[in-house]
C-alpha cells in the first residue's frame, strides 16, 4: 500500500491531467513583537508625484494589517515542486505616483517582466542583481515598457535613484507556485499534485522561514508563518 500511493499519483499525473489530484496549501503570515514604524515620504522634490498623494505615503519595508498580519511576504514552493517552465504571460511592474505598484512582484526565471512608467517624470530602474546581470535603464514619461528577463533565481532589490524613496523587490523564483500576502496576510498555493514540499516564506526585512508539508490528495492543508519583528 505504501509503495502504491506514489505509483498512482505518477500514473494520474501522466495519464489524466484533468483528473489530477490537486491539493492546496494555505495559511496566514503574522509577526510578533513591535515592527519598526514606517516613515512618511516627502515627494516635495517631485511635485507631479506629490500631488497624487494627498496623504503622504510611507516606506513599505514592513507593511502590517489587523491582528498582527504581515503583508508583502512571498510564500512559495522552494523544494519538491515541479520546476515548470515560465508562463508566457508577462509580469507587470508599474511606477505610478513615484511609487512601485506593487512593492513586491514574483516571477519565474526566464519570465518576461514589463516595467511601465505611468508618471509624468523620468525614472531609472536599477535592479541591484547579484546572481543576474545588473542593469540600469532610464525610462522617461511615455516611453514603452522596459522588457527584461532574469535567468537566475534571487530576490532583487530595485531602486530608482532619481527618486531615492522608491524601493521595491523582484522575487525571481524557479516555481510558478507562489503567493504574495496582501491585506490580512493570507496566502494560498493551489494546484499542488501529491508530494512532499518545502514551503518558504520570504520577507524583505525579516528573512526566510521554511516548513515541510506533504500533500496526499484533494485536500487543503493549513500552515502559518510567524516572523519576529525587528525593533529597528
Amino acid at each position: 500500500m505504501r509503495t502504491c500511493n506514489p505509483c498512482i499519483a505518477v500514473a494520474v499525473v501522466i495519464l489524466s491531467p484533468t483528473l489530477m489530484l490537486a491539493g492546496t496549501i494555505s495559511g496566514k503570515v503574522t509577526y510578533t513583537g513591535t515592527p519598526v514604524k514606517q516613515k512618511p515620504i516627502s515627494m516635495a522634490k517631485e511635485p507631479s508625484c506629490e500631488k497624487q498623494h494627498p496623504t503622504p505615503i510611507t516606506t513599505e519595508t514592513v507593511v502590517t494589517g489587523a491582528n498582527n498580519t504581515l503583508e508583502n511576504v512571498v510564500v512559495y514552493i522552494s523544494a519538491g515542486g515541479d520546476e515548470a517552465n515560465a508562463p508566457s504571460q508577462a509580469v507587470t511592474f508599474t511606477q505610478k505616483g513615484c511609487q512601485y505598484l506593487p512593492h513586491v512582484i514574483a516571477l519565474h526565471t526566464g519570465q518576461e517582466l514589463h516595467v511601465v512608467n505611468g508618471d509624468q517624470t523620468s525614472h531609472n530602474i536599477h535592479p541591484m542583481a547579484k546572481a543576474n546581470p545588473e542593469w540600469n535603464k532610464s525610462q522617461p514619461p511615455g516611453a514603452p515598457p522596459i522588457v527584461q528577463k532574469f535567468d537566475n533565481a534571487e530576490f532583487i532589490s530595485v531602486k530608482c535613484q532619481i527618486h531615492p524613496w522608491m524601493h521595491g523587490w523582484f522575487a525571481v523564483l524557479k516555481t510558478n507556485h507562489y503567493s504574495i500576502t496582501g491585506d490580512g496576510g493570507a496566502f494560498s498555493l493551489p494546484n499542488l499534485p501529491p508530494g512532499k514540499y518545502t514551503v518558504a516564506a520570504w520577507h524583505e526585512d525579516y528573512g526566510t522561514q521554511t516548513q515541510d508539508i506533504t500533500i496526499t490528495g484533494n485536500e487543503t492543508k493549513s500552515i502559518d508563518f510567524s516572523f519576529k519583528a525587528k525593533a529597528y
Partner: protein, 311 residues
C-alpha cells in the same frame, strides 16, 4: 638506529614548523603574500588586437599583486588594504560589474574596454593611468581579473553599441540637446548647469550603498575628462551604455542615435572652461542657447540633419 632518530627529528621539526614545511611545496608558482590562501582559479584569456593575455602567466600574478591588489584586494573583491582610504571605492572584480563599457547595460565589457580603462585611468578616482604597462602586461592583467568572477566563464561580452558618424555641430543641435537634457531629466542629478548639484544628487548611492556624486561638467579646465574617456564618442558611449554599478542609467532605449549626438553637443557646452567646437559655435551664436522648437516627425527628420541649418 641513528637513521631512525634522524627521520624522527625531521618529523618533529615538521610538526613544529608545519607551515614552513608545507608552504614551499604547495606554492611553487609564486609566493602568496596576501592574507588569504591561494585558491584554484580558472585559466582565462584576453584578446586585444593580436595580443593574447593569459591569467596563469607568472607575470600577471606578480603584476596584480604588485600593482592592483593594494586597492582591489587579493581576492579581487575591492577590499585591498588601501580601500578604506579611497572614494569612490575600488572596483569589485568578483561582481564583474564595470563602469566603462562599449556594451549595453548589464553585459560584460569587451577586452578592449578593460584595456582602455587601464590605459586611461579613471578620472575623479584613485585609479591612475597605467602608462608603465606594455600591452602584454595589460592583456595578462585583464585575463587575470576575469578569474575573480564566474560570470566570465558563463557569459560572453556584450555586443558593442553602434555609434553613427557625428553630424556637424550647430546651434540647433546644441539647442535640441539642451531640450533633451531637460526632458530626460539629466538635471535631476547633474544639475541645470551640469554642476552635479541636481535635487537628487545628495541622495545618490552606488550599488554597494556607498555615497556617490554625479559628474560635474563645469569643473576642471581645458583638459577635463569624463570617467570613461574624453572624446565626443566617449560621451555618446557613456550615456547610451550607462555607468553600471552607479545610479547613471543607460539611455539606449530612449534616445535616438541622432538625438544622442545633439545631447553630446549640448553636454560639451556645460564644460565651460574647456575649449571645444561646441563652445565655439555657442560663442558665435551670441553665447545663448535658443529655445528648441519641436519639428514635425523628429524621428524621421532629425533636427541635427544637414538640412536643418536654418541660418
Amino acid at each position: 638506529m641513528k637513521n631512525t632518530t634522524h627521520t624522527f627529528r625531521i618529523g618533529i621539526s615538521c610538526l613544529a614548523w608545519g607551515a614552513l614545511c608545507i608552504l614551499p611545496l604547495s606554492a611553487q608558482d609564486a609566493p602568496d603574500v596576501g592574507p588569504h590562501p591561494a585558491v584554484p582559479r580558472p585559466k582565462m584569456e584576453s584578446h586585444i588586437g593580436n595580443v593574447t593575455g593569459h591569467s596563469d602567466s607568472s607575470r600577471a600574478h606578480y603584476d596584480y599583486r604588485r600593482y592592483c591588489a593594494g586597492c582591489h584586494g587579493d581576492l579581487g573583491d575591492g577590499n585591498g588594504e588601501n580601500a578604506q582610504w579611497i572614494d569612490p571605492k575600488p572596483r569589485d572584480f568578483s561582481a564583474a560589474v564595470f563602469k566603462c563599457r562599449s556594451t549595453p547595460t548589464g553585459t560584460l565589457p569587451t577586452d578592449d574596454d578593460l584595456f582602455n580603462t587601464i590605459g586611461r585611468g579613471v578620472t575623479n578616482s584613485n585609479m591612475p593611468v597605467w602608462n608603465t604597462f606594455d600591452p602584454q602586461q595589460k592583456a595578462d592583467l585583464i585575463a587575470y581579473i576575469k578569474t575573480f568572477s564566474p560570470r566570465w566563464e558563463k557569459e560572453k561580452a556584450g555586443q558593442p553599441i553602434t555609434i553613427p558618424p557625428e553630424p556637424p555641430v550647430t546651434i540647433e543641435s546644441i539647442s535640441h540637446g539642451k531640450a533633451l537634457f531637460t526632458k530626460l531629466e539629466c538635471w535631476k542629478c547633474h544639475g541645470p548647469q551640469g554642476k552635479g548639484d541636481g535635487p537628487s544628487a545628495a541622495t545618490l548611492t552606488d550599488s554597494k550603498d556607498q555615497p556617490i556624486r554625479p559628474y560635474n561638467f563645469a569643473e576642471g579646465g581645458n583638459d577635463s575628462r569624463f570617467k570613461c574617456g574624453s572624446t565626443n564618442q566617449d560621451i555618446y558611449r557613456i550615456f547610451m551604455t550607462g555607468v553600471d554599478g552607479t545610479p547613471m542609467p543607460s539611455f539606449a532605449d530612449t534616445i535616438q542615435p541622432n538625438d544622442a549626438w545633439d545631447l553630446v553637443h549640448f553636454l560639451r557646452t556645460l564644460q565651460v572652461h574647456r575649449h571645444s567646437k561646441e563652445n565655439d559655435v555657442l560663442k558665435a551664436a551670441g553665447g545663448k542657447i535658443p529655445p528648441y522648437v519641436e519639428k514635425e516627425a523628429p524621428a524621421a527628420q532629425p533636427p541635427s540633419g544637414p538640412a536643418g541649418g536654418g541660418k
